[in-house]
């Protein structure tokens, strides 16, 4: 380790925030760009599964709540691309990598939303798992990232409560509604557990990321925490977690549970999830169809600048 690297690590260890213009190791920068970019992409792709139900929301209030939520997600994307930009990468560069498949987004968004209870399950389980991942990141070492996470976590926990509220309406509703709620839980349970990533035992990057405080907890710790918090919530709803091996372990003061099917996880990452083609396709289409719009705005901006320059020159 160079002197600079040692000094950097000491700052991190002391809990100081690293700010954009300060020196940082190239690996730190790269890892952050990947992590923040992937998170930003997840927010914007994450508009789609819920966007799928906006036109079919069952009441005006639910429609408004869902619109507000999807709007928040786009807003989170904006914060995060801005945070990534402080590391020297533009939003357009990151989007290009998303569209080419070079960068990923969270695999959870490759699952379809098939009934209205999915709007509950996504809020409750998907946002719930996201928060579990993100709360510790409020203490991450990179200042802009940490501040973005504080803002995002506040809104996400609001989304999670709204999701749980939808789940309650469904689980305590008509028999058909309860069936939809159970169906949603059945389909989202294991994908939600996968959101924490495979066990860190198998991950090479984790140790370095934890030293840099880009990653705060291990995947397994967070997954366990998520299960512990979620099981009683499911019980309250009267729904059954689709895992026969789920049982309280008095000794570890937590639940034992089945591992998700990691082969499915890797298939989805490879592009074979139920909706990979649709999700990425929708974003690429939006970008391609929107080229004339962006070009038009740029052309106007150039003309306007030229006009201003002409006025200044004439004065």
């Amino acid at each position: 380790m160079s002197q600079e690297e040692i000094a950097f690590q000491e700052r991190v260890d002391r809990g100081e925030k690293i700010e954009p213009k300060e020196w940082m190791p190239e690996g730190y920068r790269k890892t952050l760009i990947r992590q923040i970019g992937q998170h930003a992409h997840s927010e914007i792709v994450g508009q789609l599964p819920e966007g799928n139900w906006i036109t079919r929301a069952p009441t005006l209030e639910r429609k408004a709540i869902l619109l507000a939520k999807v709007q928040d997600e786009a807003g989170h994307g904006l914060y995060l691309y801005s945070a990534a930009e402080t590391l020297g990468v533009s939003r357009d560069e990151l989007l290009e990598k998303l569209h080419s498949g070079e960068m990923k987004y969270s695999s959870i968004f490759n699952y379809p939303t098939l009934n209205w209870a999915d709007m509950g399950a996504v809020g409750w389980l998907v946002d719930g798992a996201a928060i579990m991942n993100q709360v510790p990141l409020q203490r991450t070492s990179y200042g802009p990232y940490s501040r973005a996470m504080i803002r995002i976590c506040k809104e996400e926990s609001f989304h999670q409560r709204q999701g749980y509220a939808v789940m309650m309406k469904m689980a305590f509703g008509t028999p058909e509604q309860k069936e939809m709620a159970q169906d949603a839980l059945n389909r989202f349970w294991f994908p939600a557990l996968m959101m924490f990533g495979p066990s860190d035992k198998d991950s090479v990057h984790s140790a370095q990321s934890m030293a840099w405080k880009i990653k705060i907890n291990t995947n397994d710790e967070l997954r366990q925490k998520f299960v512990n918090e979620t099981v009683p919530q499911a019980e309250y709803l009267g729904l059954t977690i689709p895992d026969e091996n789920l049982v309280w372990n008095e000794e570890k003061q937590g639940y034992d549970f089945s591992e998700p099917d990691w082969s499915e996880f890797f298939e989805v990452i490879k592009g074979n999830g139920p909706c990979n083609r649709e999700r990425l396709g929708a974003r690429v289409k939006a970008w391609t169809d929107g080229a004339w719009f962006r070009d038009g705005l740029s052309a106007y901006a150039e003309k306007a600048a030229a006009r201003r320059a002409a006025i200044v020159a004439a004065e």
């Binding site: 079919r56 069952p58 408004a64 786009a74 038009g296």
Partner: protein, 250 residues
């Protein structure tokens, strides 16, 4: 009273159907800022729907609330302008429609705030106008920038004008239902809003280097429940859950 109910449905249905169309863009916008702005516009419009249809339900006095009016009427009972139910087309058509509607919407709400003899109507208008003012500013700004942008963006915006223009005449067309409410001083006569609208539109079009078409044939009927073929498909989608699970609580 039936006339008042009908007119309130016109206001509410405009907001509902345009909100629906706008929300179809969610996650599919040309830049992230547009995704946000479009979701926000749709959200505002759904909020207005709740206010107008809520009052409509009260006025009707048959116990229907805003949700029941939104979700349990078929196309022939809808009273929105044809303009708002047209397919989105490209972003140029969507923005141009937004602009043409907002310019009318703003003029209408302004009148209601200043003159309506119904305090409830004036109150809703006062709430809605803040958001509509913003919608109009945003849409005007984009119409100018895209109209006076690249060759392609100009051509698309002009094509959007030409496509939508025959659907604007309906905004200024009175009928017996309206006449009754005009007499009561509750609502403006449609034609009185035309001047303000034309001023807004012509100013912005001039800045946007867009041509204002000659007034020609107007497509009519939305306010009387004779719609385009598109509305039925919108409602089939929008109303599915309420229709499929009657009486459920969501």
């Amino acid at each position: 009273k039936p006339a008042f109910f009908d007119w309130l449905c016109r206001m509410g249905d405009n907001a509902l159907v345009l909100g629906h169309r706008t929300s179809e863009w969610c996650g599919h916008g040309p830049v992230l800022e547009e995704d946000i702005a479009l979701a926000n516009t749709a959200l505002d419009l759904i909020g207005h729907t709740q206010l107008w249809l809520g009052l409509a339900g009260e006025v009707e006095g048959r116990g229907r609330d805003a949700d029941q009016l939104a979700y349990l009427r078929d196309a022939a009972q809808f009273r929105n302008l044809l303009l708002v139910e047209l397919p989105n087309g490209d972003m140029g058509v969507t923005l141009m429609r937004e602009f043409l509607f907002d310019a009318w919407h703003h003029a209408c709400l302004s009148w209601l705030i200043a003159h309506s003899q119904s305090p409830r109507v004036a109150e809703i208008a006062a709430k809605a106008i803040k958001e509509v003012t913003y919608h109009l500013e945003r849409a005007s700004d984009l119409v100018v920038r895209l109209g006076d942008g690249s060759g392609e963006s100009h051509a698309r915006m002009q094509a959007a004008v030409d496509l939508l223009w025959p659907y604007t005449g309906e905004m200024f067309k009175s009928d017996a239902i309206e006449a009754e409410l005009v007499k009561a001083g509750i609502v403006p006569a449609s034609e009185t809003l035309r001047e303000t609208w034309e001023r807004t539109v012509s100013e912005i079009f001039e800045e946007a280097t867009l041509d204002m078409p000659e007034d020609g044939y107007s497509h009519l009927g939305g306010k009387q429940g004779r719609h385009t073929e598109h509305l039925g498909f919108i409602l089939a989608e929008m109303q599915f859950l309420q229709r499929a699970y009657p009486g459920a609580s969501w």
